[in-house]
């Protein structure tokens, strides 16, 4: 292909325009709207106790989901790539369900299962557990929607690598944990970290499922995305945008981390 082909410039221009209209412009709007009433108004919104609580809850739910899914993802990836059994394909497919189901439906499923009319209600009452309209519910649905990320990023790496190194270590008498720590983990650590970052990004921004199950109790069960919606519906535009900037900032941090990890991962491959 010629270097000065018009197609090349056309495609570059098209992509740039698309990115500008779809990403850069809205981002600029968020920032300009957030600072519309001046910096002190912006600072007031951010230091508001509801905002801080929402931030805290978002970080907590994200952290809980990431921890759960890291453990689950590692176990699932190990089980599905190291043991071959008849229905392992079915399990692989089931892990992907959260990708396919709309988060709102996921929220509904949890509400209907664990809510007042749900079949699990008597058990929950017996143990004095509350899931719907509570932090537990928010954590559970966040786990649900981010379930596949880590398992799905680690699996191909484990699969491509084969089992011989682990077998070699086992033949020399290494136990399961030693094998994981010394042989398997160094190989999957970048993939795992990449999965964790994707999982974190998804967990922080989750809206639909959390919205259904949280009950929007301000100062109790509202996460940052929910708070943005509440403020927006109250016509507090500047406040809504100000809270949004927190999410934007977190997203940017994750984006940078993701790129660093990607870079490290690729240099580790060579």
């Amino acid at each position: 292909m010629g270097k000065k082909s018009p197609v090349k410039y056309f495609l570059i221009a098209l992509s740039s325009i698309f990115v500008f209209v779809m990403l850069i412009m809205p981002l600029a709007v968020i920032l300009s709207e957030a600072f519309k009433n001046g910096f002190s108004a912006y600072a007031n919104v951010l230091s508001d106790s509801f905002t801080l609580h929402a931030l805290q809850l978002t970080l907590f739910a994200t952290f809980a989901a990431v921890v759960c899914n890291t453990v689950f993802g590692l176990f699932a990836a190990w089980a599905l790539t190291r043991f071959h059994y008849k229905r392992s394909k079915i399990l692989t497919t089931i892990i992907d369900i959260p990708f396919a189901i709309s988060p709102v439906i996921a929220g509904l499923i949890f509400s209907l299962t664990f809510g007042r009319i749900g079949w699990a209600q008597p058990i929950l009452n017996y143990f004095h557990l509350k899931i719907v309209f509570a932090v537990t519910g928010i954590v559970l649905v966040t786990i649900f929607v981010t379930l596949p990320f880590i398992a799905r990023t680690v699996m191909p790496v484990l699969h491509a690598r084969g089992t011989e190194e682990e077998e070699a270590a086992a033949l020399m008498g290494a136990g399961g944990f030693t094998i994981f720590r010394k042989i398997t983990f160094p190989h999957i650590k970048w993939a795992l970290l990449y999965g964790i970052i994707l999982c974190t990004a998804r967990a922080m921004g989750e809206f639909g499922a959390v919205s259904v199950i949280s009950g929007h109790l301000r100062g109790k069960t509202d996460t940052l995305p929910l708070l943005v919606e509440i403020l927006y519906n109250d016509f507090k535009m500047a406040d809504a945008f100000a809270v949004s900037t927190i999410l934007v900032l977190l997203a940017l941090v994750l984006l940078i981390l993701k790129n660093i990890v990607e870079y490290k991962w690729h240099s580790a491959k060579e």
């Binding site: 011989e164 190194e165 077998e167 070699a168 033949l171 020399m172 008498g173 290494a174 010394k182 160094p186």
Partner: protein
Amino acid sequence: MYIELKNINKSFGTYKASDDVSFALPAGSLSAFLGPSGSGKTTILRILAGLETPDSGDIIIDGQRVNDITPAKRGIGFVFQNYALFRYMTVFDNIAFGMKIKKISADRIKKRVGELTELIGLKGLENRYPAQLSGGQKQRVAFARAIAPEPKVLLLDEPFAAIDAKIRKELRQWLKDTIKKLNITSIFVTHDQDEASEVADEILIINKGRVEQSGSPLAVYKKPVTPFVAQFIGENSLINNYDKLKGFYRQEGFSTAVIRPEFISIFKENEQYQNSYTAEPGVVKTVTFRGSHLEIVVILHGIELKAVWPTDRELLISQEKVGVLVKKMYLIDGGNIREIENEALIADNSVII
């Protein structure tokens, strides 16, 4: 006998990977499992190591049944086909791994790794990572790693498969000498008959999960006992209408004949030779240079036969008319094999006597 397998069976779904496998190998022997790919030789090796569990049968090492003993406690060193070196560890850590697991003191580990890197000729490369080594070097590190914890038995899965031809030859000899020096009972898997006969004291021919024949390389070559072995060993011609050849008659039940190149004598047209009237006129179809000899395909009664011709004689050329004498052949059917000599030749010889 040091290593014994008794009636080992193993299936993967409907595929029978090991079919009533039994054999016994003496201590200090160096044996080869030889067979085509997919014949089940690696499975037998993995069963011996404990990486696969047989469906039935006994595995005995040094007089002890080891079926229920974990792989790590069987005292086996294993060299994997692709070496399976720990890629995030240095050469030193790779070789030391087994000893560290065994909680051997750091001083002794250091000394032993030193000895082993000396033995494999990689002294000074202890801090390299596997990715920084050549294929032959990786192979030798894998070997050192396998023997470092002083196993009783060494198993090698296709140890030379991933190495280029020139280094492979050197490495074969090196491996044979080293194993003999260490006096460790060893088995290696290969699909290359040259490799098997060059390195091993004893060859076990594996086909479809069964041991077809075992014995010294010479014995297996000279006296194949099953149709498969007759076909698999050597560069053979496989023909159906063998009764067209002078001196051979169709034998009841045997539909196919296997003829080795060395069973065929080829004479130039003007040449004087013994048994001249038993030779038949044929035509050279192709001549291929093989270094030490020429590989010839001659056509005789429409049958293509592979033969050899020494390079120090006047060379043969394509389409040249030659005299062809087939001295013997193996006749095979489903399960039987029979070696027959050229009858004309027997009669001819008796006349001379």
